[in-house]
């Protein structure tokens, strides 16, 4: 039975949500044993495999010991012991800084930040400028200019600044991101754009359970530090057939998950389910949409998007994060450079608004299926 299933398209069913049930087909894989899993279970499986296959790997963060607030780390401490799977004190800069140190000594550190909204103290650990020491003769003071930060200033520059003598490639930072219906300012953010501006790290965002397991294993094993954002809305909602074995999905390779001819849509994470609905509706009106899951935002697969836009002549990008300075702007600028003469219409961005993520107003803030559908039509009719 499992082998029969393996030959067919894998279907992602998202039941009982405000947008109705959705289906996203993923590419069929080899006929292996599969199990119907939700997103947090798929991630949990990936973590089990990661710890099992590398004895020098660790999983830690706030509350991971009892399974984590989203249950992604269930069973790990019991199975691998508290020396490898443990709670940390409540301190994001410490979590990431400590993780960098572990990784620099040749270990794999898979750290959890409880909500992407709380990643900012650790953002600092993303980069360190060498402090410069100056002596001010007028006041006879030594002035130390410089600042510490973990992800940007440390992790991202570890290999480069040392001339490749050192690296912290074994670091993977996982964080739940995105809207959840009632998360407000501090449980709904999509901060991917900040990290996409930092050379030296990778940014990966899966769209479904099967993708998450494969991408997470790739991220953990990638020899560069990776920030892995998990769409929290899909932790329980998304259920998919997930192969039980150890498999990896390559980074920096986008996937055309729906073929079409009239317009290219690019997205990532939970937003793809919304975009898929818009594509289905557009098809009823005779518009053929090509939908691409970017998967890795940094470094991103320009070639796949470029090839698609050269075919369709139109591009629409959609993300929950605020439109101004969002990652859609980078995609738009790049495609403009590469496909200018092939474009039939301006690049469209259907994104979150330029406000803090509001509670009561969330439905108005979000890039809905109908906002996307309207933008598809106006782009096609430009």
């Amino acid at each position: 039975m499992a082998s029969l299933l393996g030959r067919f398209c894998r279907k992602l069913v998202v039941p009982g949500s405000a947008h109705g049930s959705r289906m996203i087909s993923t590419t069929a894989c080899d006929s292996e044993a599969v199990k119907s899993l939700n997103l947090y279970s798929a991630i949990n499986q990936a973590l089990h495999i990661a710890l099992e296959t590398d004895p020098r790997s660790y999983v830690f963060g706030e509350d991971v010991g009892f399974g984590g607030v989203f249950r992604c780390t269930t069973g790990l401490a019991e199975r691998f012991g508290k020396n490898r799977v443990f709670n940390t004190p409540l301190c994001e800069q410490g979590i990431v800084g400590f993780g960098i140190g572990l990784a620099a000594m040749g270990n794999r550190a898979v750290v959890e930040i409880q909500f992407a909204d709380y990643i900012y103290p650790a953002f600092d650990q993303v980069k360190r400028v060498f402090p410069t020491l100056e002596f001010d003769f007028s006041t006879a003071e030594f002035l130390i200019r410089g600042f510490n930060s973990q992800i940007v200033n440390e992790a991202a520059k570890f290999r480069y600044r040392s001339g490749n003598q050192f690296n912290c490639g074994g670091l993977t930072i996982r964080a739940p991101y995105g809207a959840v219906g009632h998360g407000g300012h501090y449980h709904s953010q999509s901060p991917e754009a900040f990290f996409c501006h930092v050379p030296g790290i990778k940014v990966v965002i899966p769209r479904s359970p099967r993708e998450a397991k494969g991408l997470l294993l790739s991220s953990i094993r990638d020899p560069n530090p990776v920030v892995f954002f998990e769409p929290k809305w899909l932790y329980r909602q998304a259920v998919e057939e997930v192969p039980e074995h150890d498999y990896m999905i390559p980074l920096s390779q986008a996937e055309v998950i729906r073929e079409g001819n009239d317009i290219t849509l690019v997205g990532w994470g939970a937003q793809l389910t919304v975009m898929e609905q818009a594509c289905l509706d557009a098809e009823k009106e005779g518009i053929s949409c090509e939908l691409i899951d970017l998967k890795t935002l940094l470094p991103w697969d320009k070639e796949t998007v470029e090839a698609s836009v050269k075919k369709t002549g139109r591009l629409l990008i959609s993300h929950e994060a605020p439109v101004t300075g969002g990652f859609g702007a980078e995609i738009s600028a790049t495609i403009l450079e590469r496909c200018f003469l092939k474009l039939e219409a301006p690049v469209s961005r259907v994104c979150g608004l330029d406000t803090p993520f509001p509670l009561v107003f969330e439905p108005f803030y979000m890039p809905t299926k109908n906002k996307i559908l309207d933008a598809i039509k106006s782009t096609v009719n430009y």
């Binding site: 003071e141 009632h182 407000g184 449980h187 330029d354 009561v360 107003f361």
Partner: protein
């Protein structure tokens, strides 16, 4: 030429002397200057282990014609005098005894013999107890409302009612509060009504936060209570800055900030404590050490003797209090406030307590701690019953007063929820206001686009948000 050289030399001397004292802002170096002998650094007989100091001192001796007597067992390193010891001795990681915990009432609410405390009047005591009951009942009813699906989220303060109310009672209305999220009792004491709490929880148009945040994210500028943000410990450095402002304005007021045992692990705790000490800011750091940060017990949070011992590391006066003892909390905060304002200094108060409730409605704490443990703290160490015993022992309370209060609060709460639930949500334009003081062009454009989308697809949008 000679003139020029001479002035260069004295400038250079001053530079050396100044750099020895590690020149710094006036409020900090005042301490240093007092420690330095009059006239400049001493010429020393013992050679300093610090090469830089050695160099400077040698040059000062050579260039300067004055010599000072000196105590050869003491050396002026940057930061002041320190005596030497020939013994190699590491300061222990902990004291032999844990810092004792100040309390006034025993577990049964009986006043301990020889207890020192700030007396409270009947009026204050009755208001304190009544507000503790009100807080507990408000929590009960809102929690149930969330379970019934009427609220999206809630977080209770069970077990911490004494910390909430007694600390508020000991403060003045002008003291500015920077809460974490488990201190609504401070607002309650100051006069925030049950209706106002309900309005925020339901995110209706009467919510001062204009429906933008999750429930329990209260704020009131009128009551000097800064709006809650869910991020942990970010309010701590803010409180220090606010305290400095109060000092500069010469106000008879301090800043007060609350945080949990988990919050003391954040980098912002370190930053805030250090700034508070250096800036001599009148701020109270009140730590609710309730034993748990979601599922993380304090043994996974730190290895110090709790939070109180961290004060000394920053040069901050500290006290450990029984957080479930309303009288002890009241006294500690009262005294701390006075010191903070009069002496321009921060104070750290570690209130030991227990988080009886779950972290929030998104948590089930029986997954990581025993139901027996929770029940024990709820019954045997309950702050309400302890204080009630004391209040009653003064003849200021009775069963009748209790049942009157409870039935009144219940009625008020149910009415507040009924009204809050049916009050309409804030107008859509409040999604765009207050991002800046005035909406910039991009937001005005986006509002137009959103309104167009609503016209085209009204079914996508909630009908209770007025346009």
């Amino acid at each position: 030429m000679a003139q020029h050289l001479k002035s260069s030399k004295s400038t250079f001397l001053n530079v050396l002397r100044h750099s020895l004292a590690f020149g710094s802002p006036s409020h900090a170096s005042r301490h240093l200057r007092q420690k330095l002998p009059h006239g400049g650094p001493p010429s020393i007989k013992k050679v300093s282990p610090n090469p830089l100091t050695r160099l400077c001192n040698t040059m000062v001796d050579t260039l300067s014609s004055s010599h000072e007597d000196t105590n050869s067992q003491v050396m002026d390193f940057p930061g002041g005098k320190v005596s030497f010891t020939p013994e190699i001795h590491f300061i222990s990681e902990s004291n032999e005894e844990r810092v004792p915990c100040y309390r006034v009432l025993d577990d049964n609410g009986q006043q301990l013999p020889n207890s020192q405390f700030v007396p409270v009047s009947k009026e204050i005591a009755v208001k304190m107890y009544s507000d503790m009951v009100t807080l507990q009942m408000m929590d009960n009813i809102f929690y149930e409302a969330q379970r019934q699906g009427r609220l999206s989220f809630y977080a209770t303060a069970y077990g911490e009612e004494a910390i909430n109310i007694a600390s508020a009672a000991a403060l003045s209305p002008d003291d500015v509060i920077f809460p974490q999220y488990r201190e609504p009792g401070v607002l309650l004491w100051r006069g925030f009504t049950l209706q106002e709490f309900a309005n925020q929880c339901f995110g209706n148009k009467s919510d001062y936060g204009k429906g933008r945040q999750m429930p329990v994210h209260y704020g009131s500028n009128k009551l000097n209570y800064f709006t809650v943000s869910a991020t942990i410990a970010t309010q701590l450095p803010n409180a220090v800055g606010a305290a400095y402002s109060l000092k500069m304005d010469g106000k008879d007021a301090c800043a007060v900030t609350f945080f949990g045992d988990g919050g003391s692990s954040e980098g912002d705790f370190h930053a805030a404590m250090n700034f508070a000490a250096v800036m001599e800011a009148p701020v109270l750091f009140i730590c609710r050490n309730n034993g748990w940060a979601i599922s993380t017990p304090t043994s996974d949070q730190f290895r110090s003797d709790g939070v109180v011992v961290k004060g000394r590391a920053y040069g901050i006066r500290s006290i450990r209090v029984d957080g479930n003892d309303a009288l002890a909390m009241y006294s500690a905060v009262h005294e701390a406030r006075e010191m903070a304002i009069r002496e321009h200094r921060p104070i750290l108060i570690e209130a030991l307590t227990y988080r009886v409730g779950h972290h929030s409605t998104s948590d089930d704490s029986t997954r990581y701690r025993s139901a027996d443990e929770i029940e024990w703290w709820n019954k045997a160490r309950n702050p309400l019953s302890r204080f009630r015993t004391w209040v009653e022992s003064n003849g200021w309370w009775s069963d009748e007063a209790e049942s009157d209060l409870r039935s009144r609060i219940k009625k008020e709460m149910l009415e507040a929820i009924r009204v809050a639930e049916k009050t309409e949500k804030p107008n859509l334009n409040h999604m765009f206001s207050d991002v800046y003081d005035v909406p910039p062009l991009n937001l005005r454009e986006q509002e137009l686009l959103v309104r167009q989308a609503i016209k085209s697809h009204p079914q996508d949008y909630p009908s209770d948000v007025p346009l």
